[in-house]
């Protein structure tokens, strides 16, 4: 039955091949670039860099803001993910489970943070902070701004999840005399879990990637990974140094991905709830 469900696989396999190559090739090249010693320039006519050393790695580890940036970003992002999730839950519950006048309008309002270009948001948010004398609380300011910016994602995803909670399951649980907690566990949790995981994952990634707010509000005490990348890979890029950063920053992400893939697997409703 599964076999019959598959759509023609040839284009999908080609796509997979492209995706794999597109991951393997650039990162192999990045490794080579990162090993170029300043004493020998690597030109396209040679297959490998003429002089290989770990000089760039040492230089970047010691002289770039890599260390604080990693610490900051990987503290900020998980916190932002949890805060955003908590703020979004009640709204998503209302949107997913109730019908009320103006619901479509509310859904549109929820998209507002996406519609405003983040640089505009960043500049005026920082100006508000200064006027209120709160500018020194950079971490909390960025956290708040990230939570607001990423609420639309969380609300959309969780609304979908709440919509997918099956009313017959809720009713059945209630009819069988389950307590509210029990009802949540049986009827809500299986449908919500993938949404919650997706929300945490997406907000985490968005927060790790966010540049405008982190830069305008965060400098100079608060360097994040994107502000670091922007300065290294932007207009004055130096390929070798940029390659070192790209590689170092890929490592935590790969580990993270493995963990999340596990989460998502265990959150698969078709597997965990025996539904369908």
């Amino acid at each position: 039955m599964i076999a019959r469900l598959r759509i023609d696989q040839a284009p999908i396999l080609v796509l997979l091949l492209i995706c794999t190559l597109w991951l393997l090739i650039p990162f192999t090249m990045a490794v080579l670039w990162s090993l170029v010693d300043p004493s020998g320039t690597w030109t396209p006519d040679t297959l490998l860099p003429p002089v290989i050393s770990l000089y760039r790695w040492e230089f970047m580890w010691n002289n770039s803001l890599l260390q604080p940036a990693l610490l900051n970003s990987y503290t900020l992002a998980p916190t932002a993910a949890v805060v955003t999730l908590l703020l979004a839950m009640p709204t998503a519950y209302a949107l997913g489970r109730y019908d009320f006048p103006g619901k479509e309008t509310v859904k549109l309002i929820a998209l507002l943070p996406l519609v405003v270009p983040t640089f505009v948001t960043a500049i005026f948010f920082s100006s508000i902070l200064f006027q209120m004398g709160l500018a020194q609380y950079r971490f909390f300011a960025i956290l708040l701004a990230h939570a607001v910016l990423f609420l639309p994602f969380a609300i959309r995803i969780l609304t979908v999840s709440f919509e997918q909670v099956r009313q017959d399951h809720v009713d059945a649980a209630r009819d069988l005399g389950a307590s509210p907690l029990e009802r949540f566990r049986v009827a809500y949790w299986p449908a919500l879990k993938p949404g919650i995981m997706a929300t945490l994952l997406i907000v985490f990634i968005q927060s790790i990637e966010e540049f405008a707010i982190a830069y305008i509000v965060g400098t100079p005490d608060f360097t994040t990974v994107p502000t670091l990348l922007y300065s290294q890979l932007g207009q004055d890029f130096n390929r070798s140094n940029a390659a070192v950063l790209a590689l170092i920053l890929a490592v935590p992400n790969v580990i993270l991905m493995l963990i999340l893939e596990r989460f998502l697997k265990s959150a698969n409703p078709a597997l965990s709830s025996g539904k369908g």
Partner: protein, 284 residues
Amino acid sequence: MTLGRAAYILMLLSPGIGLIVVFIGAVVYIAVAQSFGYYNLIGESGFSWSFWIEGIDRKSYLRAVRYSLYVGLTSAFLSVALAYPLALWLRKPFPGSMTISAILKAPLLVHGIVAAFLFLNVISYHGILNQMMVWLGIFDEPRRLQNDEHAIGLIFLQVWKNMPFALLLLTGAVQAISDDVLNAAQDLGAGAWQRFLTVIAPLTVSAMQASLIIIFIGALADFTFQTTIGPTNERSLAQYMTFMKDRGRWNDAAVVGVTLMALSLAGSVLLAVVSRLAFRGRRK
């Protein structure tokens, strides 16, 4: 709806929607006011239509609007169109599906700036792609592929970066469709395309809308990809706005900024309505 129920709904909405309204409201207010000449950082402030009248009249303005819409819509449609078959394929686990899913989702965790930088190295004049094409005899000599004028490289990267996002949303939605429903459709003799139109799409329309809209808005307001790998004979709206801002022309930048907001909003509504009309109507 009773008063108590209304209060209950409002209470539920306040931490999410309430916060958004207060926070974004202030920012939007100032941006709009600036486009009409208020809140000048330097010089006099006061109401004026002139920034809009002159701004819309500029050739670069319309070019930027057209170009950004092209990038936004193309990226959104292509990403979702690619994500659907993948989501359906990965609906049930099979040997190797974990690995495939991980490879497909990897772009979520590669920074956009890093991806653009690596991509540039691959397609550069002496990059590995050109060398391979020459070696294979497909190209006679290396070709200039970077910053191509049709934004193919940029859209490739947009799709590469955003497709996993759509995949993530759609996988959840597709998995929630029960096998009974799909089987029933099949028993009635529906083909793959028919099944998609009549069963899968209508049942996943929420996730489809969410993916389309979120990818559209992101690509519409793109700055990093455009400035590194985008065509050099086009400017995106975000790039155009930054161009103005960097020259201290805040009011002109605000005109572009407000345009960007308006297009995001209008485009999102359009995408939401179209996808709903196209698929909700077929339900039942």
